[in-house]
Amino acid sequence: MTEKMNAHSIGGQEVTGATRIEGPLLVIENVSGVGYDEVVEVIDQRGRVRRGRVLEVGEGMAVVEVFAGTTGLTIEDTTVRFLGHSMGIPVSVEMLGRVFDGLGTPIDGGPEPLAEHWADVNGQPINPTARVYPRDPIQTGVSAIDGMNTLVLGQKLPIFSGSGLPHDQLAAQIVRQAALPETHRRAEGGADSNEFAIVFAALGVKHDVAEFFRNSFADSGALARVAMFLNLADDPPIEQLITPRAALALAEYLAFEKDYHVLVVLTDMTNYCEALRQISNIRGEVPSRKGYPGYLYSDLAGLYERTGRVKGSKGSITQLPILTMPNDDITHPVPDLTGYITEGQIVLSRTLFQQGIYPPISVLPSLSRLMKDSIGAGQTREDHAHLSAQLYAAYAHVQEVRSLASVIGEEELTTVDRAYLTYGRAFEREFVGQAKDENRTIEETLNIGWRVLSILPRNELTRVREDEIEKYYGKKN
């Protein structure tokens, strides 16, 4: 990673007095040579410093976004110091085990970590020719994921949830159980651990959510390899625009400079989008859907694409963002645009949750796009792809049978359709459902899959091959 501090702007320039203050924005005049996207320090009349950045520059004019908000700033006594470079944070391996605020300043009482490198929080796009296509599956121990939506090393796979659903538990379970693929267990270089380093970013979530994750990391003895960036519900929301970027800047350093396998958890991305919407509305930009700015897609892509594996580095970044769908609506712009960028999604269902099924993963709308090249003989098992497709197809049919049964009654169904109902229940309870601490091997997952499929007559199974049926159908395993 090269330093990207493009300081053609002069820097160090200080101006006292703002022309206009509106929401988190300051308009400053009588400046010259201010650079677009430059970092500023905003000093109030009592000498306290807040940080911000330049959103727009004109002749003698700059629009500044103040992360901590403008409360208490006055037109007359506000001083703005332009720093001449874009937003960056110092990054280092010692940041693992530490807790930071939303802008990357330590808040755990410990010392400022020694900077090994200065990283621009915005990062730079990875050149597609420099990427290594991810094809190594991560075993999460969760059947609905490993069996049907395999998570791959270097993938961005969000959890689409709703308020009150156990997405935090699921994410924590994945983080706890995620095992590096066999081939990556002995990472060399700086990362001598056999386990993932974890970068966690809280975006406007409640204290107890952050606490839950902290405890969960502590319980599994992972704390020393976790870096937490916290912007909590009572912190200034605009800071959230920086928090994930700071977290990813550290992740990139660990993965691509220090060979770590990094798992990044970002929660809750819906809050992040809300912060972006707020700024956009205050600036009077033309909105696209539901008041979100037209550049929401590009902005989110700028975060999610900072995932993957690259040539010349043994490390990787795997992203597990969490977002709550407003009104459980998957077509809402936040989940919708996310789904268009990420490499699949794990969708949680309120219906399954209400039936007491954990994890309440709704498999039909869930997807892992990188699964297709990461499973099969040599990676998981030769029947994996077909088995998964069959489980999907059969479960999709269950939905039709259920709606039919609700009209004509279960008794009126054909024998085959009744078998589908039984399969549906078994699939949800035995395959999808598992305990919060149950860590299944992929082998176990696939065997459970065959067990529930064997409820169906064999000639219903057209997605699996005949030799696979021969080998696995109806077998006690």
Binding site: M1, H85, N127, S298, E305, D373
Partner: protein, 594 residues
Amino acid sequence: MNDTDYNAKRIGEVIWVNGPVVRARGSQKVGMLEVVEVGPEHLVGEIIGLEQDIMTIQVYEETTGLHPGTAVYGTGMPLSLELGPGLLRSIFDGIQRPLPVLEMRSGVFIGRGVKTTPLYRKQKWQFTPRVAVGDKVRGGSILGTVPETPLIEHRVMVPPRLTGTLTWVAPEGEYTIVDPIARLQMAQGERELTMMHRWPVRRPRPYQLRLPPSELLLTGQRVLDTFFPLAKGGAAAIPGGFGAGKTVTQHQIAKWSDADVVIYVGCGERGNEMTEVLQEFPELTDPRSGHPLMERTILIANTSNMPVAAREASIYTGVTLAEYYRDMGYDVAMMADSTSRWAEALREISGRLEEMPAEEGYPAYLAARLAGFYERAGRVETFNDATGSVSIIGAVSPPGGDFSEPVTQHTRRFTRCFWALDKTLASARHFPSINWLESYSEYVDEVVDWWKAQGYGDWYNLRAKALELLQHESHLQQIVQLVGPDALPDDQRLILMTAWLLREGFLQQNAMDEIDSYADVEKQIAMLRAILHFHDRALKVVGKGCPIVVLHDLPVVNRLVRMKATVANGEVEKILAISQAVDEQMDKVETDYL
């Protein structure tokens, strides 16, 4: 776009920066759409607005750090491509910067202000002239040929619009793309020609005559070729929500279609998807020539996290490359994934310019731009009297998967093939999730003769019959959802059964399966005949009173649904054998039950 071929001169200075949009004050001699360079790093941009001495510039690179007062340099040229040998097998960004070179210069991450020529100057190419001194030539005339890849012969052309007499032609031999290979005496004077010329991306390349499309663009995807065919020179839209299968379908067409040259534009999509193509294509072989697919492919990658202005340009870069190979007499297929991201780039720039938005924040000129783009598809007679074509396949990513939004609606107006992807099918893992009731092709009548010429005169009727069965099924399904299938008479239940065979056994096609991934026409037709033959026979036995359950249990049914993955191309006799088994088993049913 590169600093070796011209000298940029200072034309003004920046007065305003907002993301990719910059305003500058200066010379009034700058032309609309002229390429400029901004700031000390010479970031590449394009003039998109002029008002008195104020120019509005869209910048193709990140503008972080740019400040008022910094210089803007003019180049005197519109955004143009370098066209010549060396394009195939390349991967460029949206403004034709070769990504491997950027990687060499700035590493894993794409740096700013990296200057490089799109085509490699030092490579020598074996040039064989096809003209002689004294020949009268015009723009598009072929001067000679170069074996660009083992698959594609590069036909070096006189740049469009030049006419004159050749006063010198280089002898057969090895030349670089900047070495002169001919001299042309024109009314305006003499001019040296090389194997490379430039062409502005926003201007369609000229041709002699537009021809009606008449040949199928064979994709090997059954639901496309058999049901909703795209003709060479046609335009198709693939709309669908996230995860519905747009990219896989486009990759399938890029891999298996019988186009001579494939231009794949990743426009605002995922980095890994481009990497996948880059790593996969050199290893895959073209089913017809046996050569690596990369030998006929050019990739344009402007991924979602790359600057949006270059994303806007990437589509034009792609289609200009396509026209260039068309002009040599090739059939070119261009895929754009996704045109919605391109439209959003337009919207973003328009928003920063504070233009009056029309529908959903898109600028009012959205429809005109879409039309202009799709109009560049077509089958033409070239200026060297050959026939060439550009087919465009555009993915559309409607918000919420709702086709009523502006980009899908306008695209529908300018394309004649509509491959509607369906969320429900995708979640049931029915792929390609192309909805057979909502999709259509207006090229059906145009390609009938092509099918006839291949020896499949029954294609039109087979297709019509299968589609009718599927339509009938959807109607019956509505009844089934109210009363259950048992309430239907057996002849109607047979329609459900045949439709199921069509869906599972024919329409569904697994891109990941080695055998199923590509079906040649012979296999497609044989499969369709076999399924419809089953239907015809079954209809008779059911008519004679045989219960439908008996047919469900026939062993041949299993063979029919599995033949897509058990019978390889070139093994149609195995499908004929299945049809024979249909006859035998039906004969037996007739004797046993009736």
